[in-house]
Structures are given as C-alpha cells and as structure tokens.
C-alpha cells in the first residue's frame, strides 16, 4: 500500500510561473491554489465537483480543481482568474461580466468566467439554450444566470465583429 502522507513532487506552471514543490498527494489543486499559493480567486463551493466555483483552465480545458490532486498533473499549465487580466486590461469576458451585471455576490464569478472562456473555445455557443446547457456545471445561488448568458453573448458578438473587421 502506498503511504499517502509521503510528499511527492509537484510540478506545475500556474499563470505563467513555474511551481515546484513536494506535496502530500491528497492536496487538491484547489487547496494548493487557495491555501498554499494565496490564489484565493478560485473559489470552493462544494469540494465535490458539483458547483463549478473552482473551475480553472488546465492545458486550455476547463476543469474542476477540487477534483484534481495537484501531484497528478505533472507539467500542466494552469490558468486561474488571477492570470486573466489586470487593471485597465481586463479580459473581454471579465469586462462583459461587469457590463451585463453577471454576478451579485461574486463568489461563483471566477468559476463562471473561466468556464465561459473555455466554452467559447469549445464552440458550444450556437444559441442561448446551448450556452445554458453547457454552462450548467456552474451554479450561481444569487441567480445571475441571465446576465451571465448576456455577457457570454456580448463576447461572442465582439469576436465576430473583430473577425469581420479582420476579413474586411
């Protein structure tokens, strides 16, 4: 039987910075971010993969960081909400969330934004219904759902405009 208290090497790239440490294997990516790296933008809403508050991008895909042991994804590239934008340079999705009042308490928001960014990459955005379906892993108890869909559509519209602009 393997001894779960023995630390193992963990190698990650988090928001462009390399992270190397020995960690007990039971440390989730979420707890690593929040408790050991002070990246508290990623939220814990259930710790069971049921709410989406902990969504981050791992190698470009949206994942629930509470369901991943940090040592189990060597060399993965992790992007959290802190890695998205900065003052004056918000990611378009962050700006759209502000514009469309896509949050209230803000607790589910980082997860919704990370999920929405990945959703656009996945291309499940043909209709409001499809967006709703593919955003349903991210719960919002404040019920900001309408605003979130509006925000995602705002970014899609911007992207389309940019594309037509480039084509022209």
């Amino acid at each position: 039987m393997t001894d779960l208290s023995v630390a193992r090497p963990c190698r990650l790239e988090i928001n462009g910075k390399s992270y190397v440490a020995d960690l007990p294997p039971c440390v989730t990516l979420l707890d690593l971010l929040r408790e050991r790296l002070d990246l508290t933008g990623t939220k814990k809403g259930c710790d069971h993969g049921q709410c989406g508050a902990c969504t981050v991008l791992v190698d470009g895909k949206r994942v629930k960081s509470c369901l991943i042991f940090a040592v189990s994804i060597p060399d993965a590239k992790v992007i959290t909400i802190e890695g998205l934008g900065s003052e004056g340079h918000l990611h378009p999705m962050q700006q759209a969330f502000i514009d469309r009042d896509a949050f209230q308490c803000g607790y589910c928001t980082p997860g919704q934004i990370m999920s929405a960014i990945a959703l656009l990459e996945e291309g499940h955005t043909q209709s409001r219904e499809e967006i709703r379906e593919f955003m349903s892993g991210n719960l919002c108890r404040c019920g900001a759902y309408n605003g979130i869909i509006d925000a995602i559509e705002q970014v899609i519209a911007q992207q389309q405009k940019n594309r037509t602009g480039e084509a022209a």
């Binding site: 508290t40 809403g45 514009d99 409001r128 349903s136 919002c140």
Partner: protein, 748 residues
C-alpha cells in the same frame, strides 16, 4: 456645464465589479495570517443524547495536529445563557457550541480539530471517535404536528393575525368554496460561499474576525458577550460576502468556535464549513397551510380562513409571519388566521429570503388561483376584483400600492390577454403549455442607520457605514446616493462597508438596507457640504466670489467643484483646493437617519409594502411530467429604484430561488437519525443555467415620499413572493391538475 452621469436611478455597473471579476475580492475564508491553524468541525451523528467518551488518540497522532477542542477542554465562556442571545436571536435557549456534553440536534459540533494544514485537520477529524448515550428524539414533522404550540413570548417582529367579521359563518354560507391543505418542504439557503471564519490574532492580542455574516456589528456584540471579551478586543469584518439569503443573519457556530479557539490557542485560526455541514445549521422551516376561501359566484371573496404551522427546534421558538399576507392584501369582509409552531429535535429553523412571505404568499396565491377558477373567472380579473387599497387586516391606509398598475403592465408585457381560460388548451408537440400568474407582497422597512462622510486632501469623498453588501449592490447604490447628494462624480467616491468599527448599521436583511443606509449617506453628505461651506466662510483669505457666494448662498457643489451660480463670470474651485483653504487635512461628519417625528407618526398610521405581479409560462412534458419554466415576467412596485440594473438582478435572483422552491428544492429528513440526508448539490438541486429562462423584470412607477426618507422600499425579497405560485398556477393551466405541495416534482 457638465452633467453628472452617475446619479440615483441610473443603471450604473457595480463599483465592486473589478474586485469580483479579477478574484481580488477577499471573502471570510481568504485572509492568510501567518501561523494560522485550520479547524475542522466534528459533528454529532445522533439527534439527542449525551457524549459519553471522546477518544482522540488516533486524531492526535496525525502529523500537524495541534489541538482538539471539545466541551471538556474549551476555555471559559459567559456564564449566563442570555449572554449567548444574538441580535436577531429568537426566544428560547440559544444553542451554545461546545457548552456541555448534551446533544440537541444531529450535526451539532462536538469537537474541532486544529492542525497546521487543512489536509491534516480534515484527516484527523475523520479519526475522532465519540461514544454517545442515545436519547429518544423526534425529527418527524407529521409527529411534531401533534405538539403544535404558540410561544409564550413571540418573536419581536411577529405580526399577530387579526380577524375581521365572522369568517366561519361566512364560509359556511358561501356558495363557492375552495379548501386546500398546502405544504412546503424545508429548504437550505446554500449560498455559494460556505460559512467560514478567519480569526486573525493581532500583535496586541486583539482579534480581527473575518466572518461570513450579514451583520458585522451583531457578530461583534455576540462574540464579546458570549466569550466574555472586552468590547475593543474584537473587530469583525465582512467586506465581501458570498451570498447569504438569511443564513448570515444570526451568528453561526463557526464564528463562535473560531474565536473560542483563538482565545484558547492564542493563534490565528480558520474554521470553514463543508457543503455537507451547511445542512447542519439554519434552514427555511417546513410549513403547512390550510386555506379555505369562500366567494359568491360573481367572484367576490366572502371569507378567508388560514391556518399555518412552521417547525422550530426543541430549544428555540423560531416564528414566521406566515398566515397574514392574504388577509392584508385582499378585500374580504370576513377573515381569520391562526399560526403555531411545532418542535423537532433539529437545529432551529431560521429566516431565509422573504421569511414567512415566501411560503405564505406563494401558497395563498395558489389558493386564490383555485378560487378564481371555481368562480370561472380569469385569475387576473379575480385579483383586480378583490383588490384592496388599504392594509385590509389592520384596516390601515398604505403609503402607496401600485399593485394594480403592476398587474396591468405585467399582463400586457406577458400577453396575458391571449390566454385561453380552460387548462390544457395550449400545446407544442409532446409539451403542454400553461400560463399562470400571482401577486407578491413584502414589507418595506426602515431602520435607524448611521453613516460617515469624509472629504480628504486629495478631494475624494469617503463614505463609511457598517452595512454588508451580500451581492445586493449596496456599495454601488450608496456611491450613487453620495454622488447625487454631494454632487460629485462616482469615480471620486470610496465606499467602505463590512466592518464593525464603522458607524452603526443594522444587520443586512429584510430589504431594508437601501432605504436605511441610503438615507444615512444622504444626510451625511448634506451635512458635510454644510460643514465645508461653513468652515470656508470663516476663512477671510478666500477669493471675493467665494466669500460673496457663500454669504448669498449662491455657491453650489457641482460635479466635484464649488461653483458660483450668480453673476456673469463663472468661478469654480476644486474640492481639493477648497479643503486646503479650510486649513484642515480632512473634514468629516457622521449622521444618523431616523424616521423623525413625521416618520414615526406615519409608521403608526400607515402600513408599507412592496408589491409585484408575476406572470409565467411553463411547458410540461406530457409523458415524463418534466416541467420547464420558459418565460417569466415580474412587474414590481417598490417605490424609488436606485439602480435599475442591480435592482433587476436582485429581483431575478429571487425569482431563480423561487423557481427552486416551486420545482426543485427540498431538504429530505431521515427521521430515524434526525438528519437532512440530501446534503450536497447533486441531491439538493438548486436551479442551474439550463433551468432558468430569460426573465423580464419591469419596475412600475411608484412615487412614495412617505415610506422612507429617499422614497426607497427595497427589492431584495419581493422576487421570491408570488413567483413560485405563478409557476404552480401555470402548471395547473398546462395540465388541469392542482398541486398542493412545493416543490412540485414529476409523479406528484
């Protein structure tokens, strides 16, 4: 002249938005003081009994474990039970965490394990062994119904129902009668952020407590009282709160336990609940309502009889204003109501968004729909026909009630006039389509509140009050209020909330914050302007235009400048320059908004409510019984709307929760162990994206100069009231079948 673009009534984006979309906003479990210990709570698996032995060896052997706190080794706390009553506590004996070895409810904390890491604390908590002597308990609502009672001393905000006419006789004589036995399942608040507390032990030994609460000052008072600490020992902060919906009204056990441990260990600690543990404290009580309505065939209500029951714990008497709403809102010569509570061996139920009304209004509005049909009358016409312009229960005039306008405007937006009266007439393939409506009502409250306004050397305006923004938009609307009152652009304003050391503000809840804190900020800004002008006027070294202007009251604040409004020449001066002319580095005032004489008289003579009319379309899969809500329109009459954008979000958010009430949310009790068993998001479903259609919220014009100083009524709860009934009534219209239990689930 520049026109200020950010004032009251405009759809300003949230000023706390940047912090929230970048992950910079810090919530209760997110500060990282050095040397902090993680605390994990061990819960009782039994509902009643006594701890016999606690075996800690295995837990203490886990590397990193520092201490295990139980009732046996905890430090001294207050001697008297009354010291544990929190600000919004209910009558009875408050629960005292780790007070002794007695178990009063399943999930009660019996120990807290503290360790250097979260992982170690969690592992050790699982290794704790506790033996119990089990005592008989009852957690079965049906059984508890036999023990219903009226608490000797009701809750302070309890509104006793008032009868009129002869309801029983009138009911017996009514040609048309409907009767229903309604039930609402218990619900859990489930804010996305779990309850958590971080206690930072400062260098001087004082505690800075980051807690998930709706009332930092209430928690501060509770901790100092219950833990016998001196007043200045504790400061409570909650600048960001990840939702609460009532779960943060009372101080929860995590804050007590975290502060107790900090006292014991003299180290910073954090105690966070798990999602499962969120089901071990407050919940919306289970409820039963028996509603009997009598009418004449022309659709005139003759009698209303309402009997209601909600559950509470064995040790506290939680009460709701459950049965009064229909009696207040409808004209009807004969009416009576009765309310009781029933005790269960659980934790005490508590206020959840629109407490009392969410249950009472929705269930009553389902009965009204049935009565409209019994009279063969359109449900909207029926409500207009029995409309009351006064608080019919207290026979009191109202400060305003634009419910009629809300019903008409909502109906028009929805297209209600095209609705076939007969159920089951609309379909699309396998789906039956139904349209339903209901009205909503909630209190419009105002509580005395203080705020501070300070002008600083850099010409910025700082506003502070101990209010909490739990997603309600308080930061933003207070900035808008200050912007208008002081006539200064929004980006020159800083708002500080969520700190017990700030000017007094009641616990956030009941939709009173906008009206109350708004009025305080308004007053403080007015008074700061006067102070600025007065202080400047005393300076003999100021320019002639200013001296003259101040003397003749022609100087005004405009867009962050002092300007003269008289004479041909335009003079102006920045706030920064004006302040430096006063010779002071800053100017500060604190003001308290109170109802005043006029307001107090008005509160005695007039009732005050927010109203709404909700219209809903559902589609019901004929084969599977699955219900989809496809359209919701809510027309809200809530006095002055400070910010239509954030206000609409508030209303929509409550409509989402009401959709959960109608279709999804149900905490299931295992009576044998006395525990809510579906304690996670996969078994307790809260509405997800795919459950929620586009919701149309419109605000009906309602000028009310009497309800509160700024004419605000508040919008936090109203979306809960009526929405669940509109959905239930739409389901009836789709299927022709009445449901009396919420949530309505397929197969019912």
């Amino acid at each position: 002249m520049t026109v200020i673009s950010t004032t009251i009534g405009q759809s300003v984006s949230r000023i706390d938005g940047f912090a929230k979309v970048t992950g910079q906003a810090r919530y209760a479990a997110e500060p990282h003081p050095s040397g902090m210990l993680y605390g994990v709570i061990v819960n009782s698996p039994i509902a009643r009994g006594r701890i016999e032995t606690i075996r800690e060896e295995a837990a203490r052997a886990v590397p990193g474990v520092v201490e295990i706190m139980t009732h046996l080794n905890r430090p001294h706390t207050a001697l008297f039970e009354k010291s544990y009553v929190d600000g919004l506590g209910v009558p009875g004996s408050p629960y005292r965490p780790l007070h002794d070895g007695e178990i009063r409810f399943n999930g009660q904390p019996v120990a807290v394990v503290f360790a250097e890491t979260f992982e170690a604390a969690r592992e050790a908590a699982m290794l704790m062994e506790v033996d119990y002597e089990r005592w008989p308990h009852n957690a079965d609502f049906e059984v508890a119904l036999h023990q219903k009672y009226m608490p000797e001393k009701p809750r302070s905000n309890y509104v006793p129902p008032k009868s009129r006419g002869k309801a029983a006789e009138a009911y017996a004589l009514s040609p048309i009668k409907v009767e229903g036995h309604y039930h609402l399942a218990p619900e859990h608040h489930n804010p996305m952020e779990m309850h958590a507390t971080t206690v930072i032990v400062e260098d001087d030994g004082k505690f800075t407590v980051w807690d998930k609460t709706q009332g930092p000052q209430a928690v501060q008072a509770y901790l100092t009282s219950a833990l016998s600490l001196s007043k200045d020992q504790v400061r409570v902060r909650n600048p960001y709160v990840g939702g609460a919906f009532g779960s943060g009204l009372r101080a929860q056990h995590n804050v007590f336990l975290a502060a107790l441990a900090a006292k014991m260990l003299k180290r910073s600690v954090r105690v966070s609940l798990t999602r499962q543990q969120m089901f071990t404290h407050v919940f919306r009580p289970e409820a039963i309502m028996d509603i009997a309505l009598g009418a004449t065939p022309d659709g005139t209500l003759q009698s209303m009889i309402v009997e209601g029951v909600t559950d509470t714990s064995r040790f506290e008497h939680n009460m709701e204003n459950l049965v009064v709403w229909g009696l207040i809102n409808y004209k009807c010569p004969n009416a009576t109501a009765d309310y009781k509570v029933v005790p269960r061996d659980t934790y005490t139920s508590s206020d959840m968004r629109a407490p009392g009304a969410a249950t009472g209004v929705n269930l009553f509005e389902m009965a009204i729909d049935e009565m409209a049909y019994a009279c063969s009358m359109d449900p909207l016409t029926f409500r207009l026909h029995n409309y009351s312009d006064i608080d019919a229960m207290h026979d009191m005039p109202l400060t305003s009630k634009a419910l009629r306008e809300a019903m008409l405007q909502g109906a028009e937006r929805f297209g209600w006039q095209n609705r076939p009266m007969t159920p089951g007439k609309m379909r699309d393939g396998k789906e039956l389509i139904g349209w339903g409506m209901a009205t909503g009502i909630w209190d419009a409250m105002f509580s005395p509140t203080s705020a501070r306004a300070r002008l600083t050397a850099d010409g910025r305006l700082h506003i502070a009050t101990a209010a909490s923004d739990i997603g309600t938009g308080t930061y933003t609307i207070l900035a808008q209020t200050a912007s208008e009152a002081f006539n200064i652009p929004l980006d020159q304003i800083d708002i500080e909330l969520g700190d017990s050391t700030l000017p007094q503000c009641p616990t956030e809840g009941g939709s009173w914050t906008a009206a109350s804190a708004g009025a305080a900020v308004w007053l403080a800004c007015q008074s700061l302007r006067e102070k600025l002008f007065k202080t400047l006027g005393k300076n003999s070294n100021i320019s002639a235009w200013l001296t003259e202007g101040l003397r003749h009251n022609t100087v005004v604040l405009q867009d962050g400048f002092l300007k003269n409004t008289d004479g041909d020449e335009a003079f102006e001066m920045s706030l920064r320059d004006a302040l430096s002319l006063t010779g002071q580095t800053e100017l500060e005032v604190e003001e308290t908004a109170k109802p005043g004489l006029r307001g107090t008289i008005s509160q005695m003579r007039k009732a005050r409510f927010t109203h709404s009319a909700v219209f809903c379309e559902v589609r019901v899969d004929e084969e599977l019984g699955i219900v989809r809500v496809t359209r919701l329109v809510n027309a809200v009459a809530a006095g002055r709307i400070m910010n239509p954008k954030t206000a609409a979000s508030q209303v929509r958010g409550a409509m989402v929760m009401a959709t959960g009430m109608a279709l999804h949310e149900e905490s299931l009790m295992d009576e044998r162990v006395g525990r809510f068993m579906n304690h996670n998001f996969s078994e307790y479903h809260i509405p997800a994206h795919a459950d929620i259609p586009d919701m149309d919220v419109l605000f009906v014009n309602e000028e009310d100069t009497e309800v509160s100083p700024l004419g605000i009524k508040g919008v936090g709860e109203i979306g809960m009231c009526g929405t669940a009934a509109a959905i239930a009534n739409a389901i009836f219209h789709a299927t022709g079948r009445r449901h009396y239990n919420l949530p309505i689930v397929p197969g019912d």
